[in-house]
């Protein structure tokens, strides 16, 4: 790195510290450092281009003698790297080559002794990134040091370092290198399609078996013109957020497989939005007008398109199981322009001058033993 650039870079990085703009700096943060605090120049390393799927490691060596005034010792606290696939470890290596991990305490026993070497070991694992090319880019990092005897951390030194690398994925995935099915109702079996082919350096790549870490995702890979088409199908199982990794074997050396992250969220076919709960405040001693009850609704939907979209009210009961239909009217109205969605309105009919807790059970017309949707009903009596 050349002079002025290096200076500006160091200035930039040291100014950045680990207290970003807008974030609150606690006492003893680098930004609170006084003008006597050294501002060392950045160390840098360029990994060049890393094939996707491979890991790399590099040791940055920090020469404390270059920043320390005579007699001053520094304790390394921690290191940070702004890169999602990078990890750092702070180490002290003694003259015999034994290394010990620094645990972050500003304790003099954690300061390197004369003859020791202070290292930040950087690990990069490209497997954690999508299998796509990444142009060469610099990521910033720093090592945080605290002088022995600095009781409040106000003399901490931020020593910047840079890592530059690019990632070369042997395959081109278009349009997706990760699959996100979003919300998947239990009755649905959505499919996502993406294409694969070798990049310019691997035009003859061959793809093998497609496997998935979840039985809920099945996939096929078929040649189509110059590409291979991957069709992934989701057959939802357990409710809630789900994730899996789809692996496609290749004939590349080292057993490289193309990994695609898959995410989806299984939701019930019968849903109430935003929550299966409706609560409101009203004078429950008298009947509400339609206008007064206009905001007392929630949306219900049946995602299963093999069934008609309509619901019917099966029950309106209190917590003790007593019929509440004399006190409340529950009506369903189809949402204009959205035939599968209906609004469930609840209106007080009066005669219940006390708080009410119960539930409304919806079912499908003509399907007495079919699925039901239970909605909690809470009405507060406010005369």
């Amino acid at each position: 790195m050349r002079g002025p650039t290096c200076f500006l870079l160091a200035l930039s990085l040291s100014a950045c510290g680990d207290t970003p703009t807008g974030a609150t700096a606690g006492a003893g943060t680098p930004s609170a450092a006084s003008s006597q605090v050294p501002q060392p120049q950045a160390l840098s390393h360029d990994f060049g281009t890393i094939p996707h799927g491979e890991a790399r490691q590099y040791d940055y060596v920090f020469d404390l003698a270059s920043i320390a005034a005579p007699g001053r010792r520094y304790v390394p606290l921690r290191a940070h790297i702004d890169c999602s696939c990078g990890r750092t470890q702070v180490l002290i290596r003694n003259p015999e080559g034994y290394e010990r991990v620094v645990d972050g305490r500003p304790d003099p026993t954690n300061a390197p002794e004369p003859g020791d070497t202070l290292l930040v070991r950087l690990f990069l694992d490209t497997k954690t990134k999508d299998a796509v090319d990444l142009k060469s880019a610099a990521s910033r990092g720093y090592l945080l040091l605290q002088p022995v005897g600095d009781r409040d951390g106000s003399q901490r030194v931020t020593w910047p370092f840079l890592v530059q690398f690019a990632i070369d994925a042997p395959v081109v995935l278009r349009p997706f290198a990760e699959l996100d099915f979003g919300r998947v109702p239990q009755s649905a079996t959505p499919t996502i399609t993406t294409t694969l082919r070798g990049d310019e350096n691997h035009p003859d790549i061959e793809f093998g078996a497609v496997t998935c870490t979840s039985p809920d995702i099945t996939a096929t890979l078929e040649p189509e013109q110059d590409d291979f088409v991957l069709r992934a199908r989701c057959r939802p199982g357990q409710l809630g957020n789900q994730a899996a990794v789809l692996q496609i074997a290749t004939n590349l050396p080292g057993g490289y497989s193309v990994n695609l992250g898959v995410k989806w969220k299984v939701v019930p076919d019968l849903e109430a939005a935003p929550l299966p709960k409706l609560s409101f405040r009203a004078d429950l001693g008298r009947a509400q007008t339609e206008a007064e009850a206009a905001t007392q609704f929630l949306l219900v939907v049946d995602h299963d398109e093999s069934r008609p979209p309509q619901f019917e009210v099966r029950q309106l009961v209190d917590d003790a199981g007593r019929d509440g239909s004399a006190w409340f009217a529950a009506t369903l109205v189809t949402v204009p322009g959205s035939s599968r969605q209906q609004r469930l309105f609840v209106r007080s009919l009066g005669g219940h001058p006390a708080d009410f807790r119960g539930r409304i059970v919806l079912g499908k017309p003509g399907a007495a033993d079919g699925p039901t949707l239970s909605i909690e009903l809470v009405a507060f009596h406010r005369p």
Binding site: S12, D103, G153, P175, T213, N241, V245, K263, K265
Partner: protein, 502 residues
Amino acid sequence: MTRIRPLPLAGLLFGLATCLCTLAQCGQPGEAAPSAGASLAAAQHPKPTPAGKEQGQEQEQEPNPTVVPERDQLKLLLSGTMSGRLEPCGCASGQLGGLARRMQYIGERRYHDVLLEGGDLVEGNSPLDLEKLFTAVTILANMQHPYDAMGIGEKDLELPYEQWVGYTAGAPFVASDLACDSPDWPGKPFVEKQVRGRAVRIASLTLALPEQYRGEDSRIHLLTPLAGYERAMQGADDDAWRILILQGTDVRARELVPTLQPAPHLVVCCDASYIEPTSRPEMVAGVPIVYPGTRGRILQECTLYRLPKGPRAALELVPLAGSLTVPGGGGDPDVKQVLLAHRNQVKEDGLLQKMARQLPTPNGAGYVGSETCKTCHITAFAAWQISKHSHAWETLQKAEADPKRYGWPVTAYPDCVGCHVVGYREQTGFVSFEETPQLAAVGCERCHGPASEHAMSGGKKRLGLHGGVQGSELCLQCHDYEQSPTFVYGERWPKIAHGLDK
């Protein structure tokens, strides 16, 4: 400013649900962690790092979870101060974090016993911060996987009291060292839940109050840390897990922890200078202290073990990365809807305009626009015109128009606009594109400050850099580690270098 704003319908329903629900505690104790089915990043993530070592001792091996009885293990998911980062702004690739990805991760895993959020959900006291607070509480406390405890930071308390209380009612906020006479005060001395037959008691120490609460007649009083901790642990089973969330610095934590009785089993220190969580706990007086970082970019998985020699913690970091090929992909779809509603609500409420021109300019002068600067600084203006800074507003407009990238009104969102215009929030600064088109884009005065007096004096009243800071510091106001992860001042400056004309 004391009126609680009308909530949208969804908000009303969530809000009412919050009031009515007892605190639904989450976590499914005893359920095994899925061996597969993890996210791509997480599935290939290294094993948790070993616990920290005691002073003067050699590195300890990580406790073997198959040997330690399940009852003596506790799985926590920790996040530090959110600082208003509901989701990555999207202006750079590779940004980490966001509530949608976080809740997806929590939903996928299903094995956490305790979900803890540090505190300082917001980082200011603007109307936008209030909107963010409402959205964050909706997601963290009321949706599918509600948090067990959330600390209260000093910044949270800077919000207007009535609105803050209205938005946080029913959420599991803990403030053991804050006392308030008001019946609607949401800060509990502790929260407790049962995990595999053992109580988990969670305390939180805020340690400081903002200026408005420091007087004698303040409605909120700060107890000493020891009194606050004692209050939180009063009546707890001897056998209970004791977890302490601590707002404040690492230095403060190291001083305080040895004085706490009974000793906590874990201290979660929300020191904002730790922008990334630590991968190893620090042991102080036999207590593991962990630092969960800021902005929720990287989550901290913590397995706490109760061993004969004391508590030990094993940590694993989970960077919440997005996909390079699926815009907005990977997050919980329902949380994404709530976030989208938040963005639209900000636009509907006109917060961009409401928050404009609320602050004084640093040098007391007014903004005039780059065209005025051009009169004398012809060369510099020409250099600026061909730079990306001159197109900063168009960049925002294009991003907004591209549904694959955003799908929400970027040009109406104050956080985004602030970095793409001149003088937003300051007197005479940007209000809207229609009202102040001369200040749309990153013009001369964004870096050099308001130039009215400079122009009126024929240049005799000199300008420097806005706020009198270093050039590199100024750039980092927008090009920070999150919004411009590859920004290096020395490399970028030549791209906008414009010399001196006069």
